[in-house]
Symmetry: C2
Subunit: 426 residues, 2 copies
């Protein structure tokens, strides 16, 4: 008769039976509409601290790279014309007159018929236009046998051939990978203009919630949601600000909300489950700002509350751990992306962050809500299988063991064993 879940209420009313829950798409639209684009200032960041940061303005190459014609092999800098017609059986003969030192500009001009020792990365001397590889030569005292014919430019990377001055290296709105930071270093770009990382306040509420180190008395439970949220926020290169645990006291939560809105770019408030305090977050948001919606047709996560206080988005997350996780991934993440200044190709990102897998058992769903089902993946004969992890028991373990989750759409009544689902990886 009942599934035993925390969220199996009639899906057109919210937990208190007031009004209709809105669709996931509508909720996302309202969240993004009410989330400002990168409200925080642009910072100058050193290379050491640039990893993972979001670029605030495009990075252009300030100079050519390489800054000089370099050899791409170990061998001899020569004039291509001097190797004309050379082969293994009919080599050309050259005289080695110089050695090119790494990191120094050659102080000579290579004369016709001459060659200079050069290593990979070495700078070509004036006069030389190609490099003969060691492997295609033979050395007899200081006489060099060139066993290949070379064209000008062979085994050489020209000045500006990799990157020419002014070209775009990284677009604004991209997150800096180790390779992007490495490119910046190579080009001498040592001050990175990055968006400040959004600060995200995490407020836990509930008379029954106690810190993890507490020996539980009957009726109490430990705060675990703020630990999940802290990690998920940090994984997005945002700054978690854990505010602590607050009893269901309107005044105290109101004060903490005021501070949090002032000191962060987004606020996540969880819990508030006592009878009569269920709408505490809603009352606090109404008092200080505006409630935008309360209730979404998604399971788990249906009682999600969203509001805005002084331009700061505030998410009231249901206290149930799975609901916290799903609401974060589905609703909070897009807001954090916008606050971070990230400009991503969402379709491509979705594709790269998902895998297709076959269900190991059938799953029933209720029409009129989107069901998010956590799964554990396994590989068998090269094919991926998804084991749905869902039951009121084993909740904690299923959260720890899940590789990701898939979604059963609003209109569906379930999916059959063997069907392929698209699993979004964490």
């Amino acid at each position: 008769m009942s599934s035993g879940s925390d969220n199996n209420t009639d899906n057109t009313r919210d937990m208190l039976g007031r009004g209709k829950a809105i669709s996931v798409e509508h909720a996302l639209e309202l969240i993004l509409k009410n989330t400002p684009q990168t409200p925080q200032p642009v910072e100058d960041v050193s290379l050491e601290h640039a990893y993972g940061r979001v670029l605030a303005s495009e990075m252009l190459a300030p100079e050519d790279m390489p800054g000089f014609a370099r050899s791409t092999v170990d061998g001899y800098a020569v004039r291509a014309a001097d190797t004309f017609g050379a082969s293994e059986t009919g080599p050309a003969y050259l005289k080695i007159t110089h050695e090119i030192l790494m990191g120094q500009e050659p102080d000579f001009e290579l004369a016709p018929g001459k060659a200079a020792n050069i290593a990979t990365g070495g700078m070509l001397p004036r006069g030389a236009d190609t490099v003969l590889m060691f492997e295609h030569s033979q050395l007899l005292e200081d006489v060099l046998e060139a066993q290949r014919a070379l064209a000008p430019g062979d085994n050489v990377i020209q000045k500006g051939e990799d990157v020419s001055a002014g070209s775009l290296i990284v677009s604004a709105g991209e997150r800096l990978t180790p390779y992007a930071v490495s490119a910046a270093a190579g080009l001498g770009v040592v001050n990175i203009k990055a968006h400040a990382r959004p600060r995200v306040s995490i407020i836990s509420t509930g008379d029954e919630i106690v810190p993890p180190e507490t020996n539980l008395k009957p009726g109490q439970i430990r705060d675990s949601n703020s630990y999940a949220l802290r990690g998920m926020v940090a994984d997005e290169d945002c700054v978690p600000k854990v505010r602590g645990i607050f009893k269901d006291d309107f005044g105290a939560i109101l004060e903490e909300m005021k501070r949090s809105v002032k000191e962060s770019e987004a606020v996540l408030i969880t819990g508030g489950s006592s009878v009569g305090t269920k709408d505490m977050a809603e009352r606090v948001i109404s008092e200080l700002g505006e409630v935008v919606f309360h209730g979404v047709t998604i399971k788990p996560g249906k009682p999600l509350l969203f509001g805005v206080i002084d331009g700061t988005p505030v998410f009231g997350l249901p206290g149930h751990p799975r609901a916290v996780q799903v609401c974060f991934e589905v609703f909070v993440l897009p807001a954090l992306y916008k606050l971070s200044g990230l400009e991503t190709d969402k379709a491509l990102e979705n594709e790269l962050g998902s895998v297709s897998a076959r269900l190991t058992k059938s799953i029933h769903s209720v029409q009129g809500r989107e069901d998010i089902i956590p799964v554990r993946l396994s590989l068998k004969d090269g094919e991926l299988f998804a084991e749905p992890l869902m039951s009121k028991s084993g909740l904690l373990l299923s959260m720890v063991r899940a590789h990701g989750a898939f979604s059963i759409e609003v209109g569906s009544t379930g999916m059959e064993k063997g069907e392929a689902v698209s699993v979004r990886l964490r």
Copy 2:
């Protein structure tokens, strides 16, 4: 005549023509054989610092969770027997005598025919064995109409039903996700036994290498490799120790190598490209320890050098940025995993870290070596396409722009446009 790459030497000899390069598989085998398992001590880590850490011993639940029978809905704690035969048209009548406060043990026993207000997460009083949802009831003054028949246990999660004391939460060798840390918090596990994070020394060498903030003189290039390596090492939750840039001076590099081996669990040394100093890293390793191999049939990355000093694995990476990247991903990563104590399902991880995509153009390869080709991915009509990014020019940009890379096997001469390749994502 030549491809202009840094590594287009005959593939059965190394850069100095000495001996045969070994296969990728053989190289990996030798690397793992010579890399010790988690040489560093086990640490006690607080929850706040446990994210991303590798568990050194299995995490077991120290107690039942929940620690008491809890309601999973908002409603009324009742005796199931009192709802026998109840329906919307023929409800059972109960009297509300108590309200259960969150975080407190009910100080009464529920008598037959009675009900107590309870919220989600509330503790069931003695006598009660089920919870009637608000939605299935009607309240007339203090008389409750129960409109559903309930079985004992409905809408209740029993003591220990989520996790029973002693059950395995996370296995040794797993990396702690936010959900695992959250589970630990919920169970009161506040001291995490984790492997110390491997320290990885990064030594840059080369007379031509200067720091990124330098205005280049002709012949010089800026150190970019150490910035790529620092980021890649940190992304694996290891600790990068950037040692700085060293001229091609045997004594100085020898001293730095001694220090690095003492103070870290792995050493990465790049560069050493000058004629006559090409084998500097090899000489240093030979002097202090043993060279295990030099040269692998892979492109780029062929001149990879691997050795062991006092039990510490040392990688001599070719100075070319793409070679550094490929050698790190193919050869250094497995060693870091072992040093970290990670025990992963490699086949599954490979599968989840790769996507299938169609080549947008044909690629030629040389038999006898494995070619690693960076690609940029795009989505068209729901299908993924991989654009190979390879040329001597545009190297820097192609590294920044690549989403991942695929491999052309040793025996293949290339792949055709439209063929599906498995792209390993970064």
